[in-house]
């Protein structure tokens, strides 16, 4: 059976780290704060990644590509990952115009890697709502990106 909790998570070092957080009194590491921080970062990450992809597309030549597992999976309606990212970014702008919350959820989940629960906490909606928004946004974006 899988254990309930992580073994690697806190040895004395990390414990001190936590102790340290308290002592320095940046207050308790609040779950909400963490989520909030990610949410703020999501935008930044989106910009960095999309810019990177844009530059990369210009530079990119043929040849050996070393991509991660995840990249293979994300190349959805065909084409190269970098291009998709730029296209996705544009589609997200369009989505934000008709449904800003869904666009934000995609930003937080896809670009910042927030969990459904964290997103729910940031947006003050239930996890169920986030999931439903996510699937609708995903369908909308997929269709948008499949149109060429």
């Amino acid at each position: 059976m899988r254990r309930e909790h992580p073994t690697h998570s806190l040895q004395a070092t990390a414990l001190v780290h936590e102790a340290f957080m308290r002592l320095a009194d940046y207050t308790r590491m609040q779950w909400q704060d963490r989520a909030h921080f990610f949410a703020v970062s999501a935008q930044v990450m989106r910009r960095i990644l999309v810019d990177h992809a844009r530059r990369h597309n210009v530079r990119r030549g043929r040849g050996v590509q070393h991509v991660s597992l995840d990249e293979v999976a994300v190349v959805a309606p065909g084409g190269e990952a970098g291009k998709d990212l730029v296209a996705l970014d544009e589609a997200l702008v369009a989505l934000a115009r008709i449904d800003p919350r869904k666009a934000q959820i995609v930003e937080m989940r896809f670009f910042a890697g927030l969990t459904v629960e964290e997103i729910g906490s940031v947006l003050q909606v239930s996890a169920g709502t986030v999931k439903r928004d996510w699937r609708a946004a995903k369908a909308w974006l997929y269709r948008e990106l499949s149109r060429e």
Partner: protein, 1007 residues
């Protein structure tokens, strides 16, 4: 589509997606009421949803660094389909083609970086044109990479060449079971042995929620000494609860009616296309087992006979029950039966042989256990004796894997790794990769943060984190005894660094033996004997001798973020072992985190008393916490931290802690930044140093540098608490009102953040003379903090109100507010602030009593000694019209003139007010003595340190007093400028406020 249209479309889309696919069409027809455009719209979205599969499945942040152009050797590769032999793709040199399988071509290659042979599997040309096949391919890769087990083929990497994806796998020597069986059936013994290995692999996969779904002889690989590896988890899919089954199927992109797997070995329910679970694999293994001993698959509908072994016959029959409920429910049960059957076969064989002396049997058993413990590819032993093992240096880091615990006793889970970590942490030489780093690596590997650090996972983490070695521990039972093993391997070269093994006669001795193992290990890998001897307290002396206490402690540490879980666990650990010093210390921290300062101090003091029962590093931590929380003696704390840093130069926590209150509370902001940077250099994943550096720059009044430092923190995205507060302060320093508003808006509705921002806003409003609005904001902050049970934080906000009321001359309001604070018990910092308000409001006797009490109770506390007591006493002297005495009393405060005392930085959330009050009072005293130049210098100091004073209303008052001092000195021009500066600050002040009116009159008198 516009937003209005979308409002019609989305609900229909959602409802349609909730319906089974078969019912959607009818629903759409009915609900769209002939609106063809709408119907089309929704239908295309439903279709997109169904096709989307793993689209957006993985954040791009997880992707490998995007590639540069090829290095030339790989650039002009032949078109796909041509031979790749002799080519180098990425860093894989293709040696030969091994075969063509269902999914594509398989090559043998050499990993030119790590020098090891690997297998590359390409998607076939036809398949690579089908997105679904690519998807399946990627899924295989992902799923296989999540499984790390000696009996499962390891996946190393994935790459892409000319638009074709390939997987990089462990290169295996041997043949598939299919080829092996072509030469005839196996012996009963070999069949039982291999069957056990397959069952073990499946047990691991099933436990991880993964079903193979295509177990067949082709997918079982037999290596040297019949070591079995299960291949191709390509059809596997994550097991989920039945409730989510439908969803997951769609998401995984496996069409609902598509049956996957190889028909001949499929379980009946799988062949029928029903939802299958792990018991389908058990069916398939049954068939494979039969085929192993008989050489052919069983005929249909005939009672199976395995003449060689009735026991195996029973096992096979149980696997092949057509109802999943009647089969083995878990692979582990099957494995146990297979092992039993094997044991019986063995003992029959032994019985027929000549009886052996008992001692020899035991020795054999021991060496078998040793082999099991090492778990490594064979030949290691020989290697160990032939080569001098390489050593580590003090630049290397190591990764600790989870212990392989085959005893079945869960008390060893986590506990032993924890124990080993404590042992290694004593070493100034060894440095284990931080947990943050491990978590990040796991995330990049697509594994949950809670994933078990199996040998293979730990190995990957070692590579990913640029570490040198991975240490695998193991424990196995041997009769009533235990065999503990440690095995360290260079993760880049695969060289064995050390292999240790010791036996514990009883369970009670396991920790002792673990300590011995750790000590030997340290010397073997290159640590000097001197430091090993100096810092090697055995666990039972240093930490705890109780396995159960250590277990509860390990559990507590994993939940350290949540005090509600951690506290009972720590208490449990202390019930078992009341002398467990570090557990006391941790409990103390948890309590103070909850704002239970008194309980916190109690536990911390207890830990301090027991500090001799701790390892050196634990003792440093305990002493630090003790001085920070109990004595408040920052000088002593800094001394401990310096010694800590000296003894353990590779420990980021010493400089990290030094960069916090130890430096802020003594006003050493340059040191604060330097220490933060040092901690960052040692461990880039520790977040607090980043924030401390930001805070250091804020305190130095350098918002641009603070902002830049903040950008760095973002680069190390991780959790953080008061980012918003820091950004608010940066905006304040820049005079950026919009930025402050922005942060306040972000904080809105965020528990634990909003109240702090409201409090800061209240201070800034009060500074601008807008007391009405300030009170409102403060009230809101206090209510929020109280409602959340943050009593001390509410008290801090309340004292801020009382202090500014007093400064603005509303003595009655100040006293009222301060008295409210005294109604409950408070920490020393809040007590001081309330006393300050009383004294400023003229309540001399009461504040004097509190001062004496603080002086008596906290004789060592740095803030009390150098700030609180001098300030309160000087106030008292001033109100008694004794300015010279006040100046004398303020002398000690000059030591840490620019410090942020506890109330400002540390006390219950950091009040962000209360710094430089001693300076202010000294200025007043000089004014009273008509020493205009000296007074001017004091008030100017306050204006020159905006990063220390921040939004504290004292900043406004200092401007008023500066103008008065300048007037007194006869410098009318400068005095005018000072008044104008002040009146600009007070331009929106409440009309009924006395001080602004007074200031205006004083300015008018100058003209």
């Amino acid at each position: 589509m516009n937003a209005d249209r979308w409002k019609h479309v989305e609900p229909l889309l959602q409802t349609a997606l909730d319906l089974p696919p078969g019912e959607r069409e009818e629903f759409l027809k009915r609900r769209c009421g002939g609106d063809e455009q709408l119907e089309h719209e929704v239908r295309s979205l439903v279709a997109a949803h169904d096709r989307a599969g793993s689209f957006l499945g993985n954040p791009p942040i997880d992707w490998a660094p995007l590639p540069l152009a090829g290095d030339g050797s790989g650039d002009q590769l032949p078109a796909s389909g041509d031979s790749l032999i002799g080519r180098t793709l990425s860093h894989y040199y293709i040696v030969e083609q091994l075969g063509v399988g269902g999914m594509g071509v398989l090559y043998k290659a050499k990993d030119t970086r790590l020098g090891r042979p690997v297998a590359l599997k390409f998607v076939s040309d036809e398949l690579s044109r089908e997105p679904e096949a690519l998807d399946r391919f990627a899924r295989e890769a992902r799923i296989a990479s999540a499984l790390n087990h000696p009996n499962i083929c390891t996946l190393h990497d994935i790459g892409e060449h000319d638009g074709r994806s390939f997987i990089v796998m462990e290169y295996l020597e041997g043949t598939t079971l299919k080829d092996r069986l072509a030469a005839g059936p196996l012996s009963l013994n070999a069949a039982l042995d291999m069957g056990t290995q397959v069952a073990t692999a499946l047990d691991a996969a099933h436990t991880a929620g993964i079903i193979h779904r295509d177990i067949k002889p082709e997918n079982i690989f037999v290596g040297p000494r019949d070591h079995v590896k299960v291949l191709d988890f390509g059809l596997a899919k994550m097991r989920t609860t039945a409730k989510h089954q439908a969803d997951v199927t769609t998401m995984a992109g496996t069409g609902q009616n598509v049956v996957m797997g190889t028909a001949a070995y499929m379980a009946p329910e799988q062949a029928r296309g029903e939802v299958v679970d792990h018991r389908a694999d058990i069916w398939s293994v049954g068939l494979v087992l039969y085929e192993m001993v008989k050489g052919t698959r069983p005929p249909q509908a005939v009672r199976l006979r395995v003449e060689a072994s009735p026991e195996l016959e029973r096992i096979v029959s149980k696997c092949l029950e057509s109802e999943p409920e009647l089969r083995y429910q878990h692979a582990s049960e099957m494995r146990a039966d297979l092992q039993r059957a094997k044991r019986d076969t063995d003992s029959m064989a032994t019985a027929s042989a000549a009886p052996r002396p008992a001692a020899r049997t035991l020795r054999r058993a021991l060496s078998l256990a040793a082999a099991g413990v090492a778990l490594a590819a064979s030949g290691i032993g020989g290697y160990l004796y032939l080569h001098r093992p390489p050593k580590l240096t003090d630049k290397d880091t190591i990764v600790l894997a989870d212990f392989a615990n085959t005893t079945g006793d869960t008390v060893f889970d986590d506990t032993l790794r924890q124990g080993l970590a404590v042992q290694f942490e004593q070493s100034p030489f060894l440095s284990a990769v931080s947990d943050e780093r491990v978590r990040k690596a796991l995330q990049l590997m697509g594994l949950p943060a809670t994933a078990r650090l199996t040998a293979d996972v730990a190995h990957d983490i070692c590579i990913r984190t640029g570490s040198t070695a991975v240490v695998n521990g193991s424990i196995a039972s041997l009769g009533n005894q235990y065999v503990l093993g440690l095995r360290a391997e260079h993760c880049g070269t695969g060289d064995l660094l050390d292999l240790e093994q010791l036996q514990a006669a009883r369970k009670e001795d396991v920790l002792k033996v673990l300590s011995q193992l750790a000590t030997t290990f340290r010397t073997r890998v290159g640590e000097s004997l001197a430091t090993v001897q100096k810092h090697s307290r055995p666990l039972e002396e240093g930490t705890t001798s109780s396995l159960d206490a250590l277990k509860a402690y390990s559990a507590a540490m994993t939940s350290v973020i949540d005090p509600k879980t951690a506290i009972p666990l720590l208490k449990r650990a202390l019930d078992i072992d009341p002398n467990f010093a570090t557990a006391h210390a941790l409990l103390g921290l948890q309590y103070s985190g909850l704002g239970e300062s008194r309980l916190g101090e109690e536990s911390t003091s207890k830990a301090y008393q027991l500090r001799d029962h701790a390892t050196d590093r634990e003792r440093f931590l305990i002493m630090t916490i003790y001085d920070r929380q109990v004595t408040g003696n920052l000088e002593k704390e800094a001394e401990t931290l310096r010694l800590w840093a000296q003894t353990y130069p590779r420990d980021a926590n010493a400089p990290g802690l030094m960069g916090g209150f130890a430096t802020a509370g003594t006003g050493q902001y340059d040191l604060m930044i330097a220490m933060g940077r040092e901690a960052m250099a040692i461990n880039p994943d520790l977040l607090p140093p980043y924030l401390n550096v930001v805070n250091g720059y804020i305190s130095l009044g350098r918002p641009q540098d603070a902002e830049q430092a903040f950008q760095q923190a973002i680069g190390h995205v991780s959790a953080t608490a008061d980012v918003v507060t820091l950004l608010y302060q940066i905006a304040f320093l820049k005079g950026d009102a919009a930025g402050m508003e922005h942060q306040a808006a972000l904080a809105k509705g965020k528990p634990g953040v909003e109240d702090r921002i409201l409090h800061l806003q209240a201070l800034v409003l009060a500074r601008a003379g807008r007391l009405g609005a300030a009170r409102q904001s403060a009230r809101h902050a206090i209510d929020l903090a109280s409602a959340a049970g943050r009593r001390e934080r509410a008290a801090v906000a309340e004292t801020a109100v009382s202090v500014w009321e007093a400064l603005y001359g509303n003595a009655a309001a100040a006293t009222r507010s301060a008295m409210q604070v005294f109604e409950v018990e408070n920490g020393r910092h809040v007590t001081y602030a309330a006393a300050l308000a009383l004294a400023l409001g003229g309540e001399r006797s009461r504040s004097q009593a509190i001062t004496d009490d603080l002086d008596r109770r906290f004789p060592e506390d740095t803030s009390v000694r150098f700030v609180y007591v001098p300030t309160l006493r000087a106030l008292s002297a001033l109100s008694a019209n004794e300015p010279s005495r006040a100046i004398e009393l303020l002398r000690p405060a000059a030591t840490y003139e620019f410090a942020q005392p506890g109330i400002s930085f540390y006390g219950a959330g950091g009040g962000s007010f209360g710094a430089m009050y001693a300076t202010y009072l000294r200025g007043e005293a000089y004014l009273a003595l008509h020493k205009a130049t000296e007074a001017t210098a004091e008030f100017q100091k306050i204006l020159d340190h905006p990063g220390v004073v921040l939004g504290d209303p004292i900043g406004a008052l200092a401007r008023l007093q500066l103008a008065r001092a300048l007037t007194m000195s006869g410098d009318a021009r400068k005095a005018k400028a000072a008044y104008q500066d002040l009146l600009a600050l007070w331009k929106d002040a409440d009309p009924d406020l006395a001080l602004p009116k007074q200031a205006k009159a004083e300015l008018a008198a100058l003209r």
